[in-house]
Every structure is written in C-alpha cells, then in structure tokens.
Symmetry: C2
C-alpha cells in the first residue's frame, strides 16, 4: 500500500509507492537488468496483446467487438503498477510532526492508438479528437467520486520524459487532495482576479495576442504560444479563447479544433527540434463536485489549458535550490522557429 | 544580456539567459554537433589549463605560485557562460502584465581539485573541508554586496544531473531577488516556529533521531538522514545539530566533521547504487546584510542544511502538473541500504 506524505516545511505532499519499490541494484547502470518487454519486441499496449494489461475500463471500439480484444481505436486500462489505488477516502495519520495518509486514488493509462509507431502528431485530426474526448469521459467518470479532488491528465513521451513504454499513451492520475501546484495556480489566479477584475488567463491571452511575438499558432477557438516566463526551450501552452475552468466543458466542435492545433504544434516541434521527448500536461480546476462548494467563484477564475514541455535541458542543483529555471532559449526565439513552416 | 522574468500566475521567476542562447539545431539528437572539449580529451578545469578559464577570483594555492597558474588545490573562476552578470541592482520593468528585470548576479565555478579523476567522495577529508571552506569564503565575499539577496551553492555531478563538464566542480549563483523556493522554505519555517515555539528544523531533527528508521549517518555535530517525504530514491539531507541559519557561521572544527559526514554519505551512495549522477544543494537563509533588517527573527527560524538528490528517476508530466513526486523507494528502505556498510 502506498502512502501520501506531507513535507513539513514546504507543505508538499509526495506519494511513497511501495508497490513500485525497487532495490538498489535496479538502479545500477551496469548491473544485471532483466530485458524490458520492449527490448524483446513485445508490447502490452499493441493490438492483439489486450490480455497482457489489466481489463479495460473504457474503449472506443468497433461495434460487436468484445472488451479486451482487438477492434479498438482508443483504450483505457488501469496502470499495472499504480502509484495510487482506488478505495475509500483515507484519514490523515500523524506520527509526531509527520503527517501521512494512505495512497488512495486512480491511475489509468490511455492507449492512444493500436499502432505502436503512430504518435499523436502522426494520427488523423479526428483520431486526436477522439483521444481528447476519452480524456473528458474518464475525467467525468472519475469526478463522480468527489473524494478524488483533482484529476491530472498528462503524457510522457520518450524515456527522458519519464515514459517506461514507448507505445503512444497518456496517463490519468486522480488524487485525494488538491496538489500544491494546483493550489498555487488557483490562489495566484484568485489574487490576480481581484486586481484585474477579470480572469488572469483571459488577460494574459489578450496581451499575448496583442504582443504577437510569442504566438505559435491560432485558430478560431484556441491560441498556442510560448509563455512569457518559459522555464524550458520551446515550451508551449495552448489556451482556449472561450473562458472555461473545466476541460470537461470543451464542446464537441471545440475538441476538433483543439485536436487540430495540438497536432499542429506537436508536428512543428518535431520539425523544428527533431523528435524530442516531451511532457504534455493538462491544467484545470479541481473536481467541481467538491471544489465548487468551497470556492463558488472558481468557474470565473480558473481557466483550463495545456502545457507542452520539451525535455531538452536538465533540472539541476540550481533549480532544486531556488525554484528558478535557466532557459537558454528566449520564448520569442522559440516561438519564431515554431511559427515558421 | 539575460533577463529575469516573473510568471504572472505562480509568481515564479525565471532567467532568460540570452548569452546561453542556442539554435534549434543544437538540440537535434542526430544533428551535427561540434565535439565537446571533453571528447577531444581537453579539460579547461585541469591543472595546467588555467589560461582557458576566465581569471580566477580566488584560489587555495601553494605559497609563491601566481594566480592562473598551477599550484592550486581549490580554484574559483567566473562561469564562462554565466546565467547572470555582475552589475548594479536592476529596476523592474513592466510591459502590460509582464514584469522583468535585467539578469544581474554572480555565477562562479568552484573547481574542487586539480585532478580530473577525483570526485568529492575520493578526496581526503581535509580537502573536502577546504572545498566547504571556499564556499564560505565566496558566500561572504558575495554577500558584502547586499543587492545579491540570495547565494545558491550547488553541485551537479554527471550529465543527467546537468553537468556540462565532468571535471569535479561546484557552482555559486547569487540572485538579485530571494527565489520562490527559498521564500517558501522561510515562510514555512516561520509558520511552524509559531506552532512549535522552536525552530522547525531542530524539531524535525529531534524526531528523526528518536525515530531512527531514516537515519543514515551521525557524528558529534551533524546528522544525515533520508527526509520523511523524500521526493527521490536515496534522497539525503545533512542537518547541523547546532542551530544556525547561515552556512557562513559553520566553525572551522565543524567544517571538518561536515566534510567527514559528506564524504561518508557520498561514498555510501556510490557503493549502494553505483555511481549515480546527483545534485548537491545548500539551503540557507538569504543574505543577512539585507534579510536581517526585514526579518530580524530569521536567525531563529532558518536552519541551513545540505540536500543530496540522486538522479535515478525522471521528473515527468505528473510532477509538472501537480508538484507531487512519485518516489519508488521508501526513505526508510533507502536509509537502511545507505546505513549498511
């Protein structure tokens, strides 16, 4: 059973996931390591290998095909090595000054397509839309349980970005507390709302559109740009023009234009910088079934968005100590390269 | 000229370092890359190559030897590609909602010893003490200018930990603002001081000593342990038993026992997990010449310490989105392995 633990000083929570526990030898670079399934040419996420994953919790599949059999286009399964396990809401435990709770939550894998070789950027726009639609469906299903206070959707592409399997997939983790980073964003947006008398994200978007120098791509409903204070080279964000706190509120027609701009910027990243590892991170307001009671204004002040972090630099001692990042590529330069086609 | 920029939402500052600016091709994994000096067998930090670094700002060297010539044991030079440049305190500039200031600061390299092959763990304890003493001397010299509000000392060992040269070295960066992470730690410690009526770090240390399960090493003046809420496998921290906010207050005799315990835990890390990349990070209170006026109690509430982060896992989408970390090795397990000899 994994455990959530709170760092006393920073207030940061971490998951101590004993089910993922490894021995020191597992980290030895030259130690004897069992060949990964991939190395042996086997992939549990490929079509035909459905029996090698936990039973699917959802799939878009051809009519008449059975669960956990071929015939799907997007498939969702529980993570075989979950960081958190489902269950009733855990009480907090204390030992002296140390606080903990059991690691309750959800950890799912969204297999984006049956073919090992096709990344998001390679798929038809309608397929990318379907993947985004599956994110929505799973978020809605998970948020029915109000104990899961935050649902984090993310994608790690490439080993350097934390992916342990190369078959294109995303992940969904639901946590029993609102994470620090999410709170920081909420509190920051709240403070700024009082200053600006409007959503801070809407304000930023307007100023980015006016400035122009960090814009990467636009369509009728979305704008992709390099954040003003980008931490990483070629960092990108995609904002919806229509103010909305929750990703689940994206309409069907918007999902298609979101898929368009997402596929476009991922393709541009590939063309511009090679095919770098990256993290794709969804930011949104916490589970509305609990957060709206606590913060009725959250719908006005939060604004969902996507963040794309190419892994081209290392987080090092300076970053750990200060929370500063050293970014060797100005976002304006990055955006210029990403804009040109 | 690099720029500091503040992220509007999180309040996070970043350095946009145009002098480190790269073109997209520089990141192409398969692009044409000029061979690094190392690859050619040349190292600017090795004895005899003093002319290949900027002129030294400090060195421990044999009597009668000239600056920037052989004969030194520890040598400090300005970083050839600094993230920040010295200069008068920069005013903040605003463009719409975006705030910036010029990237003023200090960025130095501490070459820990003349021999390329000797890491901290391989050096005699007295030499490690000398390196720590040089950190103190440089911090004191830099803090004379009260505009440098925080001095960050850190070490990146290994490429994966962010080191661009393999010759053993540490770095010192002084920033014109107090970094977010440092403020978080100060504010957290302040809040807890009011609850505990004592320094939170002293309290944690007492509870760690009582619990015992996360202890790694101890001597009369220092304790090394795995933090209760470790973010990373085999993460370690070293606390001084004597309460002190500033690293510069460590006494000569304490420097030696600190060197002892540091060498010991780095050796244990090597023996336990192989020779992993790691970051070594000093945490301390901001420059006393400005912070003591603002927060007279800072001496009571801050408590300097060292943090050692082995790079064995990747920071991925989940971490970026939530600020949570997934640590596959419980600190008690890590500490047990690190304790055994």
């Amino acid at each position: 059973m994994s455990e959530l633990r709170k760092d006393l000083i920073s207030g940061r929570w971490v998951i101590i996931a004993t089910e993922r526990s490894k021995r020191p030898d597992d980290f030895r670079p030259h130690g004897a390591v069992a060949p990964a399934p991939e190395a042996a040419g086997f992939c549990p996420f490929c079509e035909g290998n459905e029996g090698k994953t936990p039973p699917e919790v959802f799939a878009l599949r051809a009519a008449g095909t059975a669960p956990d059999s071929p015939g799907w286009t997007v498939r969702v399964v529980p993570n075989k090595f979950p960081a958190l396990n489902p269950g009733p809401p855990p009480p907090r435990a204390t030992r002296g000054v140390f606080q903990s709770m059991e690691g309750r939550g959800i950890h799912e894998v969204v297999i984006e397509n049956p073919d090992h070789a096709f990344e998001l950027a390679d798929l038809p726009v309608t397929h990318v839309r379907d993947v985004l639609g599956v994110f929505q469906k799973r978020i809605l299903a998970i948020e029915r349980d109000f104990h899961y206070q935050y649902v984090q959707v993310f994608k790690n592409k490439g080993k350097e970005a934390g992916a342990s399997l190369s078959h294109p997939h995303s992940q969904i983790v639901a946590t029993p507390i609102i994470p620090k980073r999410v709170k920081e964003e909420m509190y920051g947006a709240d403070r700024l709302f009082r200053t600006f008398k409007e959503c801070a994200f809407c304000r930023i978007l307007r100023e980015e559109e006016a400035a122009g120098s960090r814009l990467i791509a636009r369509n009728a409903q979305f704008t992709a740009f390099a954040p003003y204070a980008s931490r990483f080279p070629f960092e990108m964000t995609i904002y919806p023009k229509r103010h909305s706190a929750f990703f689940t509120e994206v309409r069907e027609d918007e999902l298609l234009t979101l898929a368009e701009i997402l596929k476009h910027v991922l393709t541009r990243l590939k063309e511009t910088v090679g095919d770098p590892p990256f993290n794709l991170v969804l930011h949104q307001a916490p589970n509305p079934s609990s957060s709206l009671k606590k913060w009725p204004d959250i719908e006005l002040r939060s604004h969902w968005h996507l963040e794309i972090i190419p892994i081209l630099t290392k987080v090092a001692g300076f970053e750990w100590g200060t929370g500063f990042y050293i970014n060797p590529v100005p976002p304006e330069t990055g955006a210029q390269f990403l804009r040109q086609s």
